[in-house]
Amino acid sequence: MSRINDVGGMAGFPAITEEPDEPPFHADWEAHVLALNGALIRRGVYNLDEFRDAIERMPPQEYLAASYYERWFTAIVTLLAEKGVATPEDLATPEELEVPGA
């Protein structure tokens, strides 16, 4: 069974766009997410395959709406909760916890 990340050959995506002089990261938080993931894998909190799996099992609509490093961050938070490192409440910012219905 294929998951939403398995897009090879899928029709309907837009034209390919190149960004001239593209920086490696578009914001500091993206670099922090990359480093955070490396640190957690090195410490054995989870492994690379678990990380990929956590991205690939995102709900399709969330996967498609997220940017590359937003997907990484989603996977990190998912795994930290699943591994019992922190509760979802610990992982949320106070602002997120205040959102009605969240």
Partner: protein
Amino acid sequence: MSGTHVGSPIAARVRHVEALLEHRGLLDDGEIDRRIDEFLAGGSPANGARVTARAWVDPGFAERLLADANGAIRELGLSMSGGLQEQRLKVVANTEAEHNVVVCTLCSCYPIALLGPSPGWYKSEAYRSRVVRDPRGVLREFGLQLPGTTRISVWDASAESRYMVLPRRPAGTERLGEEELAGLVTRKGLIGTAAV
């Protein structure tokens, strides 16, 4: 798609998780900054260009590179083991009859040690979905018009296996030295979305 949400609190969320992990002893002081620096220093298309130029001037090296790329790049002080795990590298050579292009349809696997951080388009659903279905059309959009007689092979990278394209040496470069030749090679040439 793949856009940044305006007003998104994601930077604050990342800071929050980072602070939490520091507090719980899962991150050392300065570790994040050190890892970012290491990543940015860890690879560059200049490495892939150096490998390519050596292959152009040294047929013995080219042969070793195509047979066992992991071993051959070690001759130039390069390695595929700088990341979280050693990755198998396969170098695929363009010829008059065949052009190669690399993709990771599932996500973004890429030989960072030889090419540096990957461009956004490489990670986009647009490239990943289309280059396997219509490689000739996609290459045309990149400005690479190949003769109809040229066969195109698309290599789909995976978690354990990475690919780099060895572009064809441009005509009229017989007098150039290795360093000058390396200067002709681009990141897109090494992915296969440009001729060199």
